[in-house]
């Protein structure tokens, strides 16, 4: 109780932010019918996300695959279960590590971009200008970014997954002298539909939350350049935590009911 009373201000501020965030999200969803009018902006955003994040996401996936194959490989070798490496790597990457690592990297990459762009527009009154001239910043800025993220995060994550599994394969063949075909067989053999459902739906949900949170933080920016810096940090930290929480919820809840 004491803690609650002492942090009353912070808690109310958090509750207020949550409320405002929900309002913005509802506003945005109401504008989904305006997709066609904002086609160009959506395609531009998709292009930006794709070109700017491809490299780090693939690199992230690749290294996770390599490290996972090494760690798992050395342990399994002790038990003579080396042939299982492929299965563990593919499951681990497709279901958990691929989406999470991509999610975190995208939270940093596209999240900071959204917040700093929209935040500086807020500070230089460009958002006020949009409203003043009768256009809706949520429709013009948030909606395209959300849709672009929701569409692009899945293929990016798939590429990261692929890079990770291929990386794992090369490491296993080079350092564990595991035949590539054995690795592939094991990698594909253990997979079930629900692994793919879980692994493929995560990026879509991450895309929604990362984009809306980062845009919201941008629109709330105040206090000059220091304020902008603070917004960007808050945006990346919040979306990263949300990525981890959603990942946990997916793994635990969705896994249990499916």
């Amino acid at each position: 109780m004491d803690i609650i009373i002492r942090n009353k201000k912070k808690i109310t501020a958090l509750a207020e932010s949550l409320q405002e965030y929900s309002f913005m999200t509802v506003e945005m969803i109401k504008k989904v019918s305006k997709i066609r009018r904002n086609k160009t902006a959506i395609i531009e955003e998709m292009y930006t996300i794709g070109t700017q994040s491809l490299f780090i996401v693939v690199l992230g996936g690749l290294f996770v695959g390599i490290i996972l194959a090494l760690e798992v490989g050395y342990r399994f070798e002790m038990f003579g279960a080396k042939t299982m490496v492929g299965r563990t790597v593919s499951l681990g990457i497709l279901r958990e590590l691929g989406p999470v690592i991509s999610g975190l990297l995208l939270a940093a990459r596209t999240g900071s971009k959204n917040t700093s762009e929209i935040g500086s527009m807020k500070l230089s009154e460009q958002l006020d200008a949009m409203r003043a001239f009768g256009t809706d910043p949520v429709e013009k800025l948030v909606l395209p970014r959300m849709l672009a993220s929701v569409v692009m995060f899945l293929p990016l994550t798939l590429l990261a997954d692929f890079a990770g599994i291929v990386g794992g394969m090369f490491v296993s063949s080079a350092w564990l002298s595991l035949d590539k075909s054995i690795f592939w067989n094991a990698a594909l053999y253990g997979l079930q539909m629900k692994d793919l459902y879980v692994g493929f739906s995560k990026p879509i949900v991450f895309g929604f939350f990362i984009s809306t949170i980062s845009c919201f933080m941008g629109m709330k920016t105040s206090g000059g350049t220091t304020g902008l810096g603070r917004s960007v940090i808050n945006s990346v930290v919040t979306s990263s935590i949300v990525v981890l929480i959603i990942d946990f919820i997916f793994t635990k809840v969705v896994w249990e009911i499916m």
């Binding site: 009018r37 200008a129 003043a132 009768g134």
Partner: protein
């Protein structure tokens, strides 16, 4: 108030607080169709805030704002849109979109009105650029423009859709004397087309050259509201001090005395 047919804008007893601080207190004035209303006052007096309240960007804590007979605070963001589309504004810091070039800045809000064809938009942009004497700046970005040019682009953007009302927030502040003259001439040219204008400024000379009706604001309250006779003959100390630097030229005095 608000009933007179000729009143295109009226504020009635508007008060505004931001973060617990009083910004505006009991502000009332009316602007008639075709008139040029000048809001004078020192920095931080609340001049820009009046424009934000007027456009519904900030909701007043009490009082009401009528634009063309509609009460702004009874409308939600979406309902304000059609009303705002009749008002052009030149922001104090221009608020040009820095990711777009001059042409796209001017056409941005034109494109929002679906009914206009691509060709008509191009034609209108050219017309506006010619109007503000910037025919060759089409492809430049805001960061490549001088202060005076930015202001002229902002004016071009505001008049592009032929608004009934145009608001200027300190259009000549921080601009060299030659460009001040150019901008003032532009404002007069727009006035002559019958557009109702509100000009915020702290330059007395500009104010008297451009306006028909004046309000002097200090610490969020209007302390004087009237014609140029009223302000030049006022007895109030603050008003006298504010106008003390002003040396009216002969022609102007003759005009006033007539």
């Amino acid at each position: 108030m608000g009933n007179n047919v000729k009143d295109i804008i009226s504020l009635c007893n508007v008060s505004l607080k931001l973060n617990g601080r009083k910004i505006l207190e009991d502000v009332s004035f009316t602007v008639q169709e075709g008139e040029t209303f000048v809001i004078l006052g020192p920095s931080g007096a609340g001049k820009s805030s009046i424009l934000k309240v007027l456009l519904g960007l900030w909701k007043p804590d009490s009082g009401s704002v009528f634009i063309k007979g509609a009460e702004m605070s009874s409308l939600n963001e979406n309902q304000m849109m059609p009303l705002r589309k009749k008002i052009g504004i030149v922001f104090q810091g221009n608020a040009l979109f820095d990711s777009l070039n001059v042409q796209d800045n001017i056409s941005y809000f034109l494109k929002e009105r679906n009914s206009i064809s691509e060709r008509d938009i191009d034609r209108r942009v050219k017309e506006c650029l010619a109007f503000v004497n910037l025919e060759n700046a089409e492809n430049l970005y805001p960061e490549e423009l001088s202060g005076g040019m930015k202001k002229r682009v902002a004016i071009a953007r505001a008049i592009a859709f032929k608004p009934d009302i145009i608001l200027y927030d300190e259009p000549t502040t921080g601009i060299d004397p030659i460009n001040v003259k150019i901008l003032e001439d532009l404002i007069l040219k727009i006035q002559n087309e019958g557009t109702t204008s509100i000009i915020v400024t702290h330059y007395v000379t500009s104010a008297l050259r451009l306006g028909n009706s004046f309000a002097l604001i200090k610490d969020g309250s209007i302390i004087l509201n009237g014609s140029n006779d009223d302000i030049l003959n006022a007895k109030d100390d603050f008003v006298k001090e504010f106008f003390s630097d002003y040396q009216p030229d002969e022609k102007f005095l003759q005009k006033v005395n007539k």
